[in-house]
Structures are given as structure tokens and as C-alpha cells.
């Protein structure tokens, strides 16, 4: 969201970064926590992190986070195309992140479907969406780190 000349500052730009990073961090934490790693490696023994040993709490939090992210993504897509697009173009780094986010959302939707009582996928497909959801998230984290270091933001100012 950084650019040399800032043409117009929208309200969303003030709060979106901490909100997005917090949500993503919690989704990462509760998502990786679907594997029984936090109790096994004594992370849940750290004061305040006892809940990381509770599978269903992490599961609900992950679903809750998905609800908030669905709201946020729909909101931001409309606000970007409705308002911000005039002042900002999406950077290449943003496009890569968007592709990964779409992949995470789509595989995530299939994971939610799989968890429904009357929906059954083949073992191979179940394994595929499980692993790909995880891999896309790892790639997104890697991109976040790389783009963070190289300071590649989401927006390129259209004002020259």
C-alpha cells in the first residue's frame, strides 16, 4: 500500500493492514493447528496458549475467520473496483497474492464441503485439497515474507 506519491487515501487503507495481517496470522495458527502439533511440541503449555491444544476451538476459530475473510474479500473487491481503481492499479506482487488467496479460498470451500455430514469425496481428492490448501498457504506466507523484505506493496499509484 506504499507508493511514492499518494494520490488519495481511503478510509480502508488506514485499518486494512493490521486487520488483514491479524486475520491471516490467526488463520495460519488455527489452520496449522488442525494437525496435533501444539500440544505435542508443548506450545500449549505456554501461558495463554492452552486453547491451542483444543481441536474444536481451533476448528471453530478457523471457520469464524473464514466468515470474516469472506465478508472482507467481498467488501474489498467491490470497494477497489468501485472507488480505489481510479487512483491505484494492482501491483504484480498483488496479483500473485490474489492468485494464491483465490486458491486458498477455493480449496478451503472444498474442505468445508468435505466436513459436511452428507458430502463425501474420494480419498484421493480429499488428500489433494487437504495438501493443496496447506501448500498454497505456505506459498502465501513465503510471498508475504519476500514482498515484505523487498517492499512490494499491493498498490501502484496511477497518479504520475
Amino acid at each position: 500500500m506504499k507508493s511514492v506519491k499518494t494520490p488519495k487515501k481511503y478510509t480502508e487503507q488506514k485499518f486494512i493492514k493490521p486487520v488483514y495481517l491479524f486475520l491471516l496470522f490467526m488463520m495460519g495458527l488455527t489452520g496449522f493447528g488442525q494437525m496435533p502439533i501444539f500440544k505435542r511440541y508443548y506450545i500449549s503449555d505456554i501461558p495463554g496458549l492452552g486453547w491451542t491444544a483444543e481441536f474444536y476451538i481451533k476448528h471453530y476459530l478457523h471457520y469464524l475467520g473464514a466468515i470474516i475473510l469472506f465478508f472482507l474479500f467481498a467488501y474489498l473487491i467491490v470497494v477497489y473496483f468501485g472507488l480505489m481503481r481510479k487512483s491505484y492499479a494492482l501491483s504484480n506482487a498483488a496479483l500473485i497474492r490474489i492468485v494464491l488467496l483465490v486458491a486458498i479460498v477455493v480449496t478451503g470451500i472444498f474442505r468445508v464441503l468435505k466436513n459436511m455430514p452428507d458430502v463425501v469425496f474420494s480419498p484421493g481428492f480429499t488428500m489433494f485439497i487437504d495438501i493443496s490448501h496447506l501448500v498454497f498457504m505456505i506459498l502465501l506466507i513465503c510471498c508475504g515474507v519476500v514482498f515484505g523484505i523487498t517492499r512490494k506493496g499491493w498498490f501502484v499509484s496511477r497518479v504520475v
Partner: protein, 136 residues
């Protein structure tokens, strides 16, 4: 230690699980759930027996038939940590299933919020003088 997979590899080749094939009393049958349930009801009706697993514990993949009611069996079981029981069990995924419904609504709520936001902002811009640097 291995968890029983009902001889997955044998079933894939059209064979029966080893325990069913070897059982001298022929106490087990295996097949699609609907067929097994039908068979269970037939036996239960014929012998006045009781069925466990059709609705209990989130609908189990093994259906049991017993001449003794399962409540009576449940009372006779040794209790304690790690011991199995036949008590009613809550559906642990019920909350998640409700949250999944909320997931359907969330993007539409976001869409509605954004549309009203964009609408207000464009209305404000047409009112505001040029050079204003703040929207919303």
C-alpha cells in the same frame, strides 16, 4: 500398532475382510450402509432385537444388533477414563455446520456493505469541492 481398516486391500480386490471370512459363527456382514441397515432392520424385526449406530453417535459405520437393549448394556459397562460407553454423544460438528451456513451469507453481507460504501462515497465526491484528499 495398526488401526483396523476392514482389510481395505482385500475389499478392493472383491474379497471379504479376513475376520468375516474366518468367523465360524458368521456374526458379521459388510456392504453399503443402506443395505446393511435394511438387513439390520430385518433381523431386528424378526428377533425382536435392538439396533445401535443407525442414529446414535452421529451415525456409525458399524451397525450393531443386540437382543439386550443398549441402555441396559450401557449400565453394565465398567466406567472410567478411557473406557468406552454407549451414552448419547453430542454432535461435535454441529457448530461447525452452522458456521458453514454463515459462510454462505458472509460474502453477500460484505457485498452489500461495500455497495452502500461506494454509493455514499461517490455521492459525497460529487458534493465535495475539488482537491479534497479524504473519502469516506
Amino acid at each position: 500398532m495398526y488401526k483396523c481398516d476392514r482389510c481395505y486391500n482385500r475389499i478392493a480386490e472383491g474379497e471379504l475382510p479376513a475376520c468375516i471370512e474366518q468367523c465360524p459363527e458368521d456374526v458379521q456382514t459388510i456392504g453399503p450402509r443402506s443395505e446393511i441397515l435394511q438387513e439390520a432392520h430385518r433381523i431386528a424385526d424378526e428377533e425382536g432385537a435392538y439396533i445401535y449406530g443407525e442414529k446414535e453417535n452421529g451415525r456409525t459405520n458399524t451397525i450393531y444388533i443386540s437382543p439386550v437393549p443398549f441402555e441396559t448394556l450401557n449400565q453394565a459397562i465398567d466406567r472410567g477414563p478411557g473406557q468406552p460407553h454407549l451414552d448419547p454423544v453430542e454432535d461435535k460438528m454441529a457448530h461447525a455446520d452452522n458456521l458453514a451456513k454463515a459462510m454462505l451469507i458472509a460474502p453477500f453481507a460484505g457485498l452489500a456493505a461495500a455497495v452502500s460504501r461506494v454509493y455514499k462515497a461517490t455521492k459525497d465526491i460529487s458534493k465535495q469541492p475539488e482537491g479534497s484528499n479524504e473519502v469516506g
